[in-house]
Amino acid sequence: MRKVEPMKKVLVLVVVVVVVFSGFRPSCATPIGLSSFALVVNASSANVGFLYPDWDPSRAYLKAPGVIVAQLSDWSATGIVYGMERNMPQQQGLDTSLSMVDTSTGAPLVASTIVIFSGPVVHSVVHYYEQNRITPSYFFFDQFTGTFQFRRASDGSIVAAMVVSDVRGGRADLFIVEAFLDASGRTVFIGYGFGWKGTFAAAKTLKDIIYGPNGQNIGLYTKSWYIYSWIDRNNDGFPDTDEIAPVSSGN
């Protein structure tokens, strides 16, 4: 048996230390094509769970550690996606619902497919999936560069970034729509932007671009995640579909 060179030992140790202290954990999720969203649209009644981020400060203690109460703007997108469902009703609830979420961790308890249109800062379940690197990509705020970023869960590389002040200006945003199977075999769809307008744009994009009329486009979206940009070209502050452009995609 060949001896491992001392330098290589040190290198391996450094890598392990860096990985452990950076909080990075290898993904235990299975990326699936966003095209599987067609199954969500056609799911039988009560087979899809829509989880809204709780907004009520009096229930803030029910949020997972590190997650804050949402602005009601974070609800703006979910109605569009729920509206796409062909079979009614589907499950709806808050991320502080004791019957739907393990509020100590943010892990979902619902057995069904999950749809969430909200970011990890305000949504316990998204926070749970991202913290545990279960999502294919995750949100990151880089204080040194002053940017919001989407990073690849597999290696932490930056996939897309935007200067914070641009997002806060309300005239531009980046957003992601992603799909994966979690360790319990749930199909999970998440969409959100750095700002609420990006989250709203994510829902519009899912309906009008990705799914398309009568679902004619959804079969083209075979990758697990798609990132888009929104730039307010007509300067009306409203995310119009023709102001949305693809940025990146992957698995």
Partner: protein, 350 residues
């Protein structure tokens, strides 16, 4: 006879005219309202026209002759009748539409007259054929042709607050969630716009600038220019109101149909909401839904998508009022609108 004596009466009259003094005693002015029992009818239906005659002090005037003339879409008269107002000022007339009544806008003109008063006229519009959620939702929303539905979001941005008509303020973004439910339910790509978008809205009045379209507005008149416009012009069958103790929904004739104490609504654990459909004067079919608070508006969107759309055939009227009580019907008392917590309709009509 002196010359000046002939001129004196003329000078006096001129002085009176310049001073604005009327030369004859003005008669008190009658006033009358005119409504139809529904905003739309089918051929063969009986149309009820009713209202009230009052004087300038809003006191009822009985015994006034109310003459009615109804014109068809082409302008021809299809019905003429008269009746005397009751002691409480009310009047009511009925007539049957022909089974072959053509589609379009009908106008009912009413004139009140009585000796000792100046007469007064008013009018109202109704439409043939009858419009209901049952006969509109599928073709007017779910399977509507591309770009034939306009979803109006209430603008939330304080910097554009001045673009709202007087009496309308900026919205909460929860009202967008409610709009999302029907937006998501539309099969094809449609139009969406803010109620401050001058391309789609007359900013002075809040009137939509589109015609022959479906219009969706899921917000109350306090924050949504379009809804405010339709209620102010008595185009919508229902309107919002409030006083120091309650919120209300009224029919446009002023009949109270639902109420909720301000404090109860303010708790955000109970609300009342409406879903209403009507024709406007530009050939648009307009769907409005909202509650007294944002919870009710959210409930209107959820209920429309989850209960009404899947059972559209059962909703054979144009407007409905429902109630939401948090924790009722087996739902959790958690501030979230569960479908089992929605009951009703409390009232319905056309």
């Amino acid at each position: 006879m002196r010359k000046g004596s002939k001129l004196r009466p003329l000078i006096a009259i001129l002085c009176l005219l310049i001073a604005g003094v009327p030369l004859s005693v003005a008669l008190p002015q009658l006033s009358l309202t005119v409504y139809t029992s529904a905003s739309s009818y089918n051929g063969g239906d009986v149309v009820t026209v009713y209202g009230r005659v009052t004087d300038t002090l809003s006191a009822p005037v009985g015994g006034a002759q109310v003459s009615l003339q109804v014109t068809a879409p082409g302008g021809g008269t299809i019905h003429v009748a008269f009746v005397y107002s009751a002691p409480d000022g009310s009047y009511l007339l009925q007539f049957g539409l022909q089974a072959t009544a053509p589609s379009g806008y009908y106008t009912a003109y009413a004139t009140a007259s009585k000796s000792g008063y100046s007469s007064s006229s008013n009018s109202t519009i109704f439409v043939v054929p009858r419009i209901t959620l049952a006969n509109w939702l599928q073709n007017g929303l779910v399977f509507a042709a591309p770009l034939s539905v306009v979803f109006y979001y209430p603008d939330w941005d304080p910097s554009r607050g001045t673009l709202k008509p007087p009496g309308v303020t900026v919205a909460q973004l929860t009202d967008w969630t409610a709009t999302g439910f029907p937006y998501g339910a539309s099969t094809f790509t449609q139009v969406d716009a803010l109620d401050t978008d001058s391309v789609y809205v007359d900013l002075a009045s809040g009137a939509p600038k589109v015609s022959g379209s479906s219009i969706i507005a899921m917000s109350g008149p306090a924050v949504h220019a379009i809804v405010h416009y339709y209620e102010q012009t008595e185009t919508a069958p229902l309107r919002f109101g409030y006083d120091s103790t309650n919120f209300y929904f009224f029919k446009k004739d002023g009949t109270q149909k639902a109420s909720l104490p301000l404090g109860v609504a303010g708790s955000l654990h109970q609300d009342v909401f409406i879903l209403e459909l009507f024709n406007d004067m530009n050939g648009n079919k307009v769907l409005i839904g909202y509650g007294f608070t944002w919870k009710g508006t959210f409930a209107a969107g959820v209920y429309l998508k989850s209960r009404v759309l899947p059972n559209a055939g059962a909703y054979v009227h144009a407007w409905y009022i429902f109630s939401w009580v948090d924790g009722s019907g087996g739902g959790a008392y958690d501030g979230f609108v569960d479908l089992v917590e929605v009951s009703g309709p409390l009232a319905l009509g056309d």
